[in-house]
């Protein structure tokens, strides 16, 4: 199976690999997937309390090229967005942007889940309720 050029580019030059301080009140961490399924994504966002804007995003991913590319792209998209805007990111956005084949759609779902998990972690840390999301279809 051939990868799209965008997947290859993200794989070769991943954006925003790294770790934010998970204990910081301003940082939300989402850890999704499982080692036995072959992919684990950790997505972190740093939020400006005053504006509700995402000022920084980092990822680390164990997985195939499409999983790495999806998480790298997620960090790019999240930076500079408000939390509300971030919540509108849909897995199909990843599929379209990265040209993912059907067998790799679960990577995009995982990226969407990671965003939601990171946002919820930030909300809970800051005394807000976590948002209940509908079950992802693909999982």
């Amino acid at each position: 199976m051939a990868y799209s050029e965008k997947v290859i580019d993200h794989y070769q030059n991943p954006k925003n690999v790294g770790t934010l301080d998970k204990n910081s009140k301003n940082v939300g961490t989402g850890l999704v997937g499982a080692p036995e399924c072959g992919d684990v994504m950790r997505l972190q966002i740093e939020v400006d309390d005053a504006t509700g804007m995402i000022t920084d995003a980092k990822f680390k991913t164990f997985g195939c090229g499409s999983a790495i590319a999806s998480s790298s792209l997620a960090t790019e998209w999240l930076k500079g967005k408000s939390i509300d805007q971030a919540l509108t990111v849909d897995n199909m956005d990843f599929v379209e942007e990265l040209n993912l084949p059907p067998v790799k759609i679960h990577c995009s779902v995982l990226a969407e889940d990671a965003i939601k998990a990171a946002i919820n972690d930030y909300r809970v840390k800051n005394g807000m309720d976590s948002i209940k999301f509908e079950e992802s279809v693909v999982h």
Partner: protein, 405 residues
Amino acid sequence: MLKLPIYLDNNATTPMDPRVLEVMTPYFLEHFGNAASRNHPFGWQAEEAVDYAREQVAKLIGADPKEIIFTSGATEGDNLAIKGVYEMYASKGNHIITATTEHKAVLDTCKHIEKTGGEVTYLQVKPDGLIDLKELEAAIRPTTILIAIMYANNEIGTVQPIREISAIAKKHGVLLFTDAVQAVGKVPVDVNKDGIDLMAFTAHKMYGPKGVGALYVRRKNPRVKVTAQMDGGGHERGMRSGTLNVPGIVGFGKACELCMQDMEEDTKRISILRDKLETELMKLEEAYINGSTEHRLPHVTNISFKHVEGEGLLMGFNKNIALSSGSACTSASLEPSYVLKALGLGDDLAHSSLRFGLGRFTNEEQIDYTIKAISETVLKLRDMSPLWEMYKEGIDLSKIEWAAH
């Protein structure tokens, strides 16, 4: 000079040896006859060429030429042996013993037999990939007609104790079939010394052409028969109808002759390269060799790099190095390798494995390049892996409740 890409997937298929192609060519062009045409020189030439190839093939495995049935490859050989014995010996019993690490061509044939009323025992393997001989013997019933155990495994290269297995089979009057695709031409295989009754193998894993293989069927002590699985002109002593693939068979014969002639030297050279590759890659932290290192083919190694996913790893160099992975992502099923799982490996390690199959045309320069490329990619991906970070922080990953999906 190093030529890219490098081919290290010789367990999937081997390149043809140019010496093989050379002898095949005339049989596509001027000697195109049908080996079954008895009335003219075109047929005679073809038949003569097939007879000669049959001798070359038989010689490599210590058989009589009459015991060689040409097939389209090992999948057909596996089917013909297992279904053919099952049907031929139906009055004696309906039970077959095999193992969970067999090739799909054997496992799926056994599943087919179960659907038609046969009984099959699937032996588990030990963590090193070898079957337990006591378990094998205990599984034998009065209705057992066949033991089907592969000579060497395609994913991990583990070589089963065929002589001990055949001794058990003989003691209980059960036939032994072995899928020897990965072993023939690479290690000495002798159907008499090894006590094999039926054996499937194929040309394209030993520097011959694709689309031609053979089933060895013993003619003496005991005389074994299989029921044909295709109806037709009664070729190959009635066991396999169909016009013979003369150029393919000629190439197969030559490939066998070359393997016999070069085996000792090839093995010596290739195993040194395999050992170098393995030793250097094992210098990486948290790297594990899968399967027995003692009972193993000389050109194969299978290594898991923990906390790095196999397909992601391959992507780091698969433009330049051809390899395969036990990762789920390389298949449509999303299930990691059933062979690695049968060894008791966790799914995480199975996802993290690479299979290396070296061959006659592998050289040291290629191995050096491969060691460097893989080491660099493993390190790069570990820097990117949340599991590696957690492992380094001393977090027990097995204690985490993962949201399995």
